[in-house]
């Protein structure tokens, strides 16, 4: 309690300028601390986006959340006996990654169309998705997929046909 009391007695002794300075220093310290923490947190927690070729080259750690984007290969989609788990293969024309997902798929998710899967790449090479994003409508396309449809999708479609 004694520390509090000395502080409480402080302002009479402190010059006006000093109090202002102390406040500014404390605020700056807190904000810089926040900024440093943010940078550290972002490096540790940002989830990277990969296409199949990249993810197989990089092989992110199994505990790291990442996103995988590509085309759902035709004929690869199957439902497991529980009725709610699906497996399919995401490809970009160069590489193929098997994906497992438990849940209700978005309405525009079909074979031969683009998808972004959020999840983790397991040690066994199977990508376990927590969430699937499919193309919502013409005016909302995940940007990564937009790039992909321009650069890679045509090629993918040409190869699958």
């Amino acid at each position: 309690m004694s520390a509090v009391q000395t502080q409480a007695a402080g302002p009479q002794g402190l010059k006006a300028k000093h109090q202002r300075l102390v406040l500014v220093v404390i605020a700056l310290a807190a904000l810089i601390g926040a900024a440093l923490l943010a940078i550290w947190g972002l490096r540790a927690q940002a989830s990277y986006f990969y296409v199949p070729g990249e993810i197989l080259a990089v092989r992110p750690a199994p505990d790291r959340g990442v996103r995988l984007g590509g085309m759902v290969e035709k004929g690869s989609l199957r439902t497991e006996p529980d009725g709610v788990t699906i497996g399919f293969v995401v490809g970009d024309g160069k590489a193929r990654v098997p994906v497992r997902f438990k849940g209700i798929v978005p309405s525009l998710f079909t074979e031969g169309s683009g998808v972004v899967a959020e999840g983790r790449l397991g040690k066994d090479g199977i990508f376990v998705a927590d969430n699937l994003l499919a193309k919502h409508d013409e005016r909302y396309v995940p940007r990564e997929m937009k790039d992909m449809t321009a650069a890679q999708a045509k090629q993918v479609v040409a190869e699958t046909q």
């Binding site: 502080q7 007695a9 402080g10 006006a16 807190a30 904000l31 947190g41 989830s47 709610v84």
Partner: protein, 648 residues
């Protein structure tokens, strides 16, 4: 004809904004009384004209006038009336028109009623408001004309995104916009006060009702938006740290800080520079949010259109407004004299601490939202989600919540913990008890654990300022503070409980099968096709019974809209006092089973109840402030009247 009329009104409004800016800035420098007297009427007429233009667009949407490009792109004749109306602002151009309309009306209102500040400060303020508006008028007229005609006229419109065809949409965006744009008034007041060096309690008192009003709308808007995302998206979550959600959260954090620092300035004449700074920052955050959303540079379900030209335009507006304001701030901050001093342990001290914590959280959210852009410039595609935002913001939110429990009990200027120790014993003991109980009984994450324990102590502590008060004589702003702080505790409890105790089930069920989820048994009774005005749907009939009680019937749907063609899921909710059952109907699996996703979310509705309480607290505080302002005006009027009569 109506489109041209609307466009003309918009041009006239822009011209009046230019007049208001020129007359305002000349009027207070040259002290030209004649020029200065133009400013208030110009502001009022400008507001009315902007409203006229907006009304014209509403009429076009309600009539589904397909010769107007915006209507043809975003509406459809078969849409229910309420969504035709709501479609007016459910698109880029319409929402920007709503933006300038609210700015114009807010400026008009200030011009009409605000008489406390010195006239030069008022002129500078209104000139500032006009300057910001002008930028947005230019944006509308040159790159987003909502009244553009289409030739040839199409036979039918393209319809509105079905996700947006919900009653939530009808009220959520306008509410948020009132909040965002209401902060422009605080921004302009800050500019006016900086220009005329009139930063003091009068400035804070003039600004406070505006900040409060905007803050109320933001609070309600964010709460409603969160609930809308919760039941409409069918993902079971209520906050996704989506850029658009962050875009509304950031101004709210800044406005919350501003609200509290303005109180210090008004009551104690301290924190002058800081309050002005927050006034600038709060609206800047609104503009940053708009830029992020409207430019389409970030992926978001809310992004209407990806248009680099528009993005560049808003970025330029942003640079001019924020850059200009910060430059002015840098030039004038040193000359704003020091306010009253205070001890570290005092009401002011606690408020300063929480202001800094709020700013730190704001920084965390801003960084996280912008990081994907930064990373993309460096060649990596990343997204930032809850694993970053939750722990990082909690790091600052926890100390803030602790100080929030103590702060309202402290006296202004100087106090000691010894004095309030006794009153804090009960909440502290409750928090400890809750923590011990939780630690023994359940296995939950660190954040939900802290949230639940803190929420209980905070709820009790937030009521303590009323202890020993005569309830009838307690001023409304005190009631407002107590209820808003209680709302924080209630919402926190809901969030923590939802995160800790939610039970999720994902099954494929046959008709007649029963699925247990938490204390519920949910039976799939049947699936029927149903039809709405612009959709058809498969509707499940399900009987849900709580702990073997009488079953209640719920109807989740999978809807298929045909204009534009899209599928949405309408989740079914069953609310009890202690939580919510949430059911989504998926697809048929091919062997006669139906995918069902069920959640039991204990105390989840408290999240939004808390949000409403926070808003209600704001409303009470605002009513109290406005009432005392009115009383003062009436009293002053009476004195003037008496003097006049004695003079005769």
């Amino acid at each position: 004809m109506i489109a041209e009329f609307g466009l003309a009104a918009l041009w006239l409004a822009a011209a009046l904004a230019a007049l208001q800016f020129l007359a305002g800035s000349l009027g207070f420098t040259v002290r030209g009384g004649a020029l200065g007297s133009v400013v208030r009427p110009a502001a009022m007429v400008q507001g009315v004209l902007a409203l006229t233009a907006f009304a014209a667009l509403i009429v076009l949407f309600c009539r589904t006038d397909l010769s107007v490009k915006l209507v043809a792109m975003n509406s459809h004749s078969a849409k229910p009336f309420i969504y035709k109306l709501a479609g007016t602002w459910g698109n880029h151009e319409g929402s920007m028109l709503l933006w300038v309309t609210v700015m114009g009306l807010a400026g008009a209102f200030v011009a009409a009623v605000e008489r406390r500040l010195p006239e030069p400060t008022m002129l500078a303020t209104l000139a500032g408001q006009a300057f910001v508006s002008l930028g947005f008028y230019a944006f509308l007229l040159f790159s987003s004309n909502p009244f553009e005609r289409l030739d040839p006229v199409p036979a039918e419109g393209q319809g509105l995104n079905p996700l947006l065809q919900d009653i939530g949409l009808a009220f959520h965006p306008p509410t948020l916009y009132l909040g965002y744009v209401g902060l422009s008034i605080a921004f302009s007041f800050a500019i006016g006060a900086l220009i005329t060096r009139e930063v003091g309690p009068a400035f804070a008192r003039a600004m406070r009702p505006w900040v409060l009003g905007a803050w109320i709308f933001l609070t309600i808007g964010i709460t409603a938006g969160s609930y809308w995302a919760y039941y409409e998206l069918g993902w079971g979550g209520w906050w996704f740290w989506d850029p658009v959600e962050n875009a509304s959260l950031m101004p709210w954090l800044a406005a919350t800080a501003l609200l509290h620092s303005a109180s210090v300035l008004a009551a104690r004449n301290a924190l002058r520079v800081w309050t002005v700074m927050l006034g600038v920052v709060a609206f800047s955050m609104s503009m940053v949010g708009t830029f992020l959303v409207r430019s389409g540079i970030l992926t978001s379900v809310h992004a209407f259109a990806v248009d680099p030209e528009r993005g560049t335009f808003i970025l330029a507006l942003l640079a001019i407004n924020i850059g200009g304001a910060l430059t002015l701030f840098a030039l004038r901050a040193a000359s704003v004299t020091e306010g009253e001093r205070f001890a570290v342990v005092s009401r002011e001290g606690a408020l300063v601490f929480n202001n800094v914590m709020l700013s730190a959280i704001l920084g965390i959210v801003l960084f996280g939202t912008l990081y994907p852009l930064l990373a993309e410039a460096l060649g990596a595609k990343v997204s930032v989600g809850p694993p970053y935002f939750n722990p990082m913001s909690a790091l600052f939110a926890v100390p803030m919540l602790l100080v929030m429990a103590v702060g309202p009990l402290l006296r202004w200027r100087r106090d000691s913990f010894a004095r309030i120790r006794a009153s804090l014993a009960i909440p502290a003991a409750l928090t400890m008890l809750a923590a011990i109980g939780l630690a023994i009984r359940v296995q939950i994450g660190v954040l939900p654990f802290l949230g639940l324990a803190l929420a209980i102590g905070l709820a009790v502590a937030s009521l303590l300022p009323l202890k020993g008060c005569d309830f009838r004589r307690t001023p409304l702003p005190v009631w407002g503070m107590v209820i808003a702080h209680l709302g924080i505790a209630v919402a926190l409890f809901g969030m923590a409980s939802e995160s800790a105790f939610t039970v999720e089930k994902l099954v494929a069920a046959r008709v007649g099968e029963t699925t247990p989820v938490g204390p519920w048994n949910v039976k799939l009774v049947g699936i029927e096709p149903v039809a709405g005005p612009n959709w058809t749907a498969l509707e499940g009939e399900m009987h849900a019974s709580y702990r073997g009680g009488a079953p209640a019937t719920i109807h989740p749907q999978a809807r298929f809209f045909w204009a534009p063609p899209q599928q949405t899921s309408e989740s079914a909710l069953l609310t009890r006092w202690n939580g919510q059952l949430y059911v989504v109907l998926g697809e048929e699996t091919g062997d006669g089973r139906w995918q069902l996703r069920l959640w039991w979310k204990p105390f989840a509705p408290l999240i939004w109840l808390g949000g409403l309480l926070i808003g209600l607290g704001g409303v009470l505080a605002l009513l109290g402030r406005v009432a005392s302002d009115l009383r003062r005006i009436v009293a002053r009027g009476k004195i003037a009247y008496r003097r006049q009569r004695q003079g005769r």
